[in-house]
Symmetry: C2
Subunit: 432 residues, 2 copies
Amino acid sequence: MKASRQPTLAFPGGLSPTLTHQSGQSHTSNPSPLDRFALGMYRIAMGKPPVEFSLWDRGDGAAMDSAVPRITFLTHQALWQTCLRPDLGFGDAFAAGGIRVDGDLIQVLTAAFRATDQSPWQKFRRHYLHWIPLSHGNSLTESRRNIAAHYDLGNDFYRLWLDPEMIYTCAYYSAATMDLAQAQTAKLEHVCRKAGLEPGMRVVEAGCGWGALALHMARHHGVQVRAFNISREQIEHARWRAQTLGLAHAVEFIEDDYRNIDGRYDAFVSVGMLEHVGPDNFRTLGGVIRRCLSPRGRGLVHSVGRNLPSPMNGWIHQRIFPGSYTPSLREMMQVFESAGMSVLDVENLRLHYARTLADWLRQFEQHVPEVTRMYDEYFVRAWRLYLGGCSAAFAAGNLQLFQVVFTPTQNNHLPRTRAALYGEAAPEFWES
Amino acid sequence: MKASRQPTLAFPGGLSPTLTHQSGQSHTSNPSPLDRFALGMYRIAMGKPPVEFSLWDRGDGAAMDSAVPRITFLTHQALWQTCLRPDLGFGDAFAAGGIRVDGDLIQVLTAAFRATDQSPWQKFRRHYLHWIPLSHGNSLTESRRNIAAHYDLGNDFYRLWLDPEMIYTCAYYSAATMDLAQAQTAKLEHVCRKAGLEPGMRVVEAGCGWGALALHMARHHGVQVRAFNISREQIEHARWRAQTLGLAHAVEFIEDDYRNIDGRYDAFVSVGMLEHVGPDNFRTLGGVIRRCLSPRGRGLVHSVGRNLPSPMNGWIHQRIFPGSYTPSLREMMQVFESAGMSVLDVENLRLHYARTLADWLRQFEQHVPEVTRMYDEYFVRAWRLYLGGCSAAFAAGNLQLFQVVFTPTQNNHLPRTRAALYGEAAPEFWES
């Protein structure tokens, strides 16, 4: 156990929380009229969500109707931090224990986000905030640092609440009865079918996480995989798994950046990496795809996206995923246009990610004592907000999950329909 | 029969052809060294396609190996018209009978287009020609004129070579054995399933052609349809069909522009209209969708597209479809972003359109004597090139066919998977 490992970049250690999420103690004087005015203005700016907002004088949870979804600012600092920098401040104040949410966290945030989508603040963000350069770039060096800040938090931490295969991307609940592990396996298989894998093919994976997809492809589809990732902890785990499963001959895990992918492949897959590429590098990624995909090859990119180009939520960008950007489908198309690719299929799996994140949060909550021992309460609250908030953002329609299938422009070796994704029959091709 | 009806805009009647496609007579002096140089340069500019190019001194078909795919310029004028204005000149010269193609027209053009895609001329076009404003706009008045020029050529003409339902858009050959009529019915059903039709729903159709989809929806899915079209001939035929089928109570055919659609609907469908909207009006179309689709409604737009933004082929734009523009998927996304829509599904049916157009051309060729009587030989050759050339453009990957399914951002009444498009089971929904 890496209990002493502290996050070095994403969470500045200097913020020592004095309030816990649960306790709801208040340490400040009664709210002033200015505090109440600020709270009212904040509520209006957020599009008047169907959620009660309270200040610290009503912070005693027991005294209130817990059936009413409610967000309570427990300190003067939490209120003003949030009002003055809504994007960053809410998350920081929540993580510091300055905000309490009564009611199911995901449900309360979903209701809030649905109202926020057309709010004055959201419109202001979309129109103006994207002119502000993001604070974390995506050069080769910056990407290493960004990825380490999140994915190298410690495999033992992720093992607590991910599925046994440690798949840290949207699952595919193709049947309502599926649990997380089943839905993750269904996702791997859905990706393999979309990519048109056949035994003997050479496959490259850009951003392979802990290696579950690469290993699944080799194990169940008989392909040769080269899988790239710049997270050292993930690559080490993936290599160990390949050894354990006797798949080291079929899967090569390479600790390197997607920009350094070489060779020619029959399939290109990338699940959950595009979010870390940054729009300035979309053409670069397109160039990688162009040079490494064979003329009859097929590719799949799976990424969080948006309906409209929007600046990243400041807290997510600063504290959780430095350097990340979730593009709209239109922005995403720059990758495929510059790659000389033809888009064959786009599927939006938004509600699958809402459920995946809810499942992760449920497991995370069952391991709070361990996580607190590994890190601290600030970290626990921050991750609670990240997992719950992202689930809510997908449920509310603020975030999308796009799977895009593509192929070189002139490839006519294509399945006639998508029926084979949904049945046992092999696809029928236009040209063999 | 409207035998005397002449196209008034798309084909300037002044060009009286002196050569037929088949005869290959030559009327000009021997080619000069400059003619041969121009032909060589043209071949290079076109990316050196695997097709023989010849001049009028070798125009005697009988003397040549007919197994070699060959394009022969039969006159001095045809050569220079093509070399000086490649986009417009080739089509005009072909229609005038100045160009002969040996070999299967679609196969020869497919081979040529595959080479052309990365040719110097194509790169020049993509970089520079899109700065030249298109010669036909898409105002309410211009759209009327543009649409009349093509779709009001006469129902009797289209009846000769379309399927019995007169569906003039890409069919869906979901099984290899399907004929044109079966594939058109399969397309209608595929569209209905994607749009999530249920009995009692209100549906609006923008650009309804001769009414086949609107009538299919009412007849087989029990919905109420309002279908808009600005082609008078098509609307008159559609109304007559609705009367004949006893569906006049369920389907209202309205001779009006999509911009004038009013009311609220559970589904929005538009099959083959976006090509005539023009990129300047994509946001306008988005606004129409936004105001007319109910919060739990679903929509489908089916349109010819591109992998990369490209200027229209000049001949198609001037002679066949005035005012048309085939957008890239990225350009198309402007419609849905401005509509506040979430894209759920994109499917590329490119090779289905290659086959549809080949089937149309085959039927057209069987009715050349009637078409010649209705119009003239110039018209026959122009339509032969249009149908064959478009089939080739889809086969070569120059053109795409995108079906885009979308819904308002916050709608969670969505099918869990797309399996119901491919089986008999009803879709399972996330939220009821």
